[in-house]
């Protein structure tokens, strides 16, 4: 085959794969604008003939999904900000501050990376219940405010900070926390953005733990609310697609904005071996 012909075949194959990958998401958006019942006709329509916003209106008025949206936003936002700060402090200390036992403790932490979170979930639920945090946003957030993975990523990045910079600040009389705030945090910015994206998307998309902790539908996060909604509205295809869209589109936009940082994080997290 000649080179232009090969280029055509390869590019056509790639385009086909990309379209097949995107069809479920495109159909979700398209069907969400169709009037009730329109998606369930033959042949399946790909675009709405008479677009309508009625499902979005129903979700945000009758079905109160706005409350669930705000719950998700609050839980993901607070988890991201708090965990970023706590992980950054620890990750920097493990990389750059010299203290006895540091490396031993860090090695022990890394062992924890192979234990799936579900293993501790039953006692964790009993603890959260004992603290009176069942059915509250704090109950959902509390176990995610520090993460071994986050500490690990920040440590790897912080290892690259030159010691001379920190020593110079020390000679100038800066305290360790001041150094962290004024010198280290600005240097960690790229990895903090990456981790913020990971943490926000991870918390937003999480399902099992919020499903266990939350029992009142007004307290549900979006994924839990959706899973409960599909039980009652399984026949309302277009409504469910609008609900799925409301959940997925914000994270897709966030990903598109932060794609460089996010992809760097995927690659960084994968070279730990």
């Amino acid at each position: 085959m000649s080179r232009p012909a090969r280029a055509l075949v390869v590019n056509a194959a790639v385009a086909a794969v990309a379209i097949v990958t995107l069809v479920p998401l495109l159909w979700m958006v398209s069907a969400s604008f169709m009037p009730p019942g329109a998606a369930n006709t033959m042949p399946p329509p790909l675009v709405p003939r008479t677009p309508t916003l009625e499902h979005y209106v129903a979700l945000f008025t009758r079905l109160n999904l706005l409350r669930n949206f705000l719950n998700s936003l609050l839980i993901s936002g607070v988890t991201t900000i708090v965990s970023l700060f706590i992980n950054a402090l620890a990750g920097y200390a493990f990389a750059k501050l010299r203290f006895a036992g540091r490396d031993r403790v860090f090695q022990l932490l890394v062992v924890g990376l192979v234990v799936p979170a579900q293993v501790g979930m039953l006692p964790l639920f009993l603890m959260v219940r004992g603290l009176g945090l069942v059915n509250t946003p704090w109950g959902v957030m509390i176990a995610a405010l520090a993460s071994i993975f986050g500490i690990f990523m920040i440590r790897q990045y912080a290892l690259g900070i030159p010691d001379e910079l920190l020593d110079a600040a020390r000679v100038d009389g800066a305290g360790e926390f001041q150094i962290f705030r004024r010198v280290v945090l600005p240097l960690l910015r790229p990895i903090l953005v990456t981790l913020a994206a990971f943490s926000f998307l991870g918390t937003w998309n999480d399902f099992l733990w919020p499903l266990i902790v939350l029992s009142d539908e007004r307290k549900f996060t979006l994924p839990v609310a959706l899973a409960s909604l599909v039980g009652e509205h399984v026949l309302d295809t277009e409504l469910m697609m609008a609900g799925a869209g409301v959940t997925v589109v914000p994270v897709l936009i966030l990903f598109l904005v932060l794609q460089r940082s996010y992809i760097r994080g995927v690659l960084m997290g994968s070279v730990k071996g």
Binding site: R3, R6, A7, V10, N11, V14, V17, A18, T21, L22, P24, L25, W27, N40, M42, I86, L89, A90, Y92, A93, R98, F99, A100, R102, V105, G112, V114, V115, P116, Q118, V119, G120, M121, L122, P123, L124, F125, M127, I142, A143, A146, I148, I151, R170, F177, W204, N205, F207, L208, P223, L226, M240, M241, A244, G245, V248, I263, V266, L267, S270
Partner: protein, 300 residues
């Protein structure tokens, strides 16, 4: 001014422990303690009555484990989970590798757009896209069966037929996850020096030979990493069957975590559920070690 090195040393020790203590405290209380307590819990008959009054829970030794081993539900869930891991895992890795080779091909245009498009399912909310796929799999109105009929193939009742429900979940999860490993493979491919391919071309090696003798060995360490990470992830199957099939039809898609969830949080048999969690942990650890050993043998 504290240029005195010993003074710095003391402050650093204090600051060091101060900086790590919030993280260590949280991880200790909300991760390490629950895992240890979970192991203890698995040796008790903690149930719905103990939930009201913990003092009624009794230590029962390995009774939960003995019961699990004789429970057909458990073996079903184990078989379903292994089908998902051993069927879906390799399929997902192959799809990732294929996509990576395509995206990385020299003739391909618009690479960065393409990479983002293929990666986008990874960042979507699992529950939301699982619901979308539920409708795509619909035997009458779903796009997938419509496409199959269009190709002259028989339509399949994907989520309603016990033989097809797990394959349907596998197919969905390949779509959801292949982008992640694709990125890792692309990075691995870019680490293989171009000169190796040039040399092979000069020696007259064809496309397949170059793939077999340069690309595959060049990706060796990447395969191990991707294999282990994918497998650990696959063992945690939960939301897909919860949302798409509720474990059915005929319990053909109940996974170990779904069984743990049902036993622990629907029937409040927390001791029994904790034992399931630890059996899962043991299986994951053994499988990880086996995979690392196998790949090491293969490279010799």
């Amino acid at each position: 001014m504290s240029a005195d090195p010993r003074g710095t040393h003391v402050t650093q020790t204090r600051a060091g422990w101060l900086f790590v203590s919030p993280a260590l405290g949280l991880i200790g209380v909300f991760f390490v303690v629950p895992v240890v307590v979970g192991l203890l819990l698995s040796f008790t008959d903690f149930d719905i009555y103990a939930l009201g009054d913990p003092s009624v829970a009794r230590i029962v030794g390995v009774r939960n484990y003995a019961q699990i081993v004789s429970d057909r539900e458990f073996w079903g869930a184990l078989r379903n989970t292994l089908t998902f891991v051993l069927g879906g895992g390799p399929l997902s890795v192959l799809a990732s590798l294929g996509a990576a080779l395509l995206v990385n091909a020299r003739l391909v245009r618009f690479k960065s757009v393409l990479r983002v498009a293929l990666f986008s399912p990874v960042v979507t909310t699992l529950v939301a896209v699982a619901i979308v796929w539920r409708y795509l799999y619909h035997p009458h109105y779903g796009l997938i069966d419509f496409a199959l009929r269009g190709l002259g193939l028989p339509a399949v009742d994907w989520l309603g037929d016990p033989h097809w429900a797990m394959p349907a979940i596998i197919l969905f999860s390949v779509w959801k996850n292949f982008g992640y490993n694709m990125l890792i493979f692309v990075a691995g491919l870019q680490n293989i020096p171009e000169e190796q391919y040039e040399a092979a071309r000069i020696d007259g090696a064809g496309g397949w030979a170059r793939f077999r003798h340069i690309t595959v060995p060049g990706l060796g360490p990447t395969f191990l990493l991707v294999g282990v990470l994918t497998m650990i992830g696959q063992f945690q199957l939960f939301a897909e069957p919860y949302v798409m099939t509720a474990g059915g039809p005929l319990r053909s898609t109940v996974s170990l975590i779904l069984l743990m969830y049902e036993q622990g949080f629907r029937w409040w048999r927390l001791g029994y559920a904790a034992a399931i969690a630890f059996i899962l942990l043991a299986i994951v650890l053994v499988a990880t070690l086996v995979q690392m050993r196998l790949q090491r043998l293969e490279r010799r």
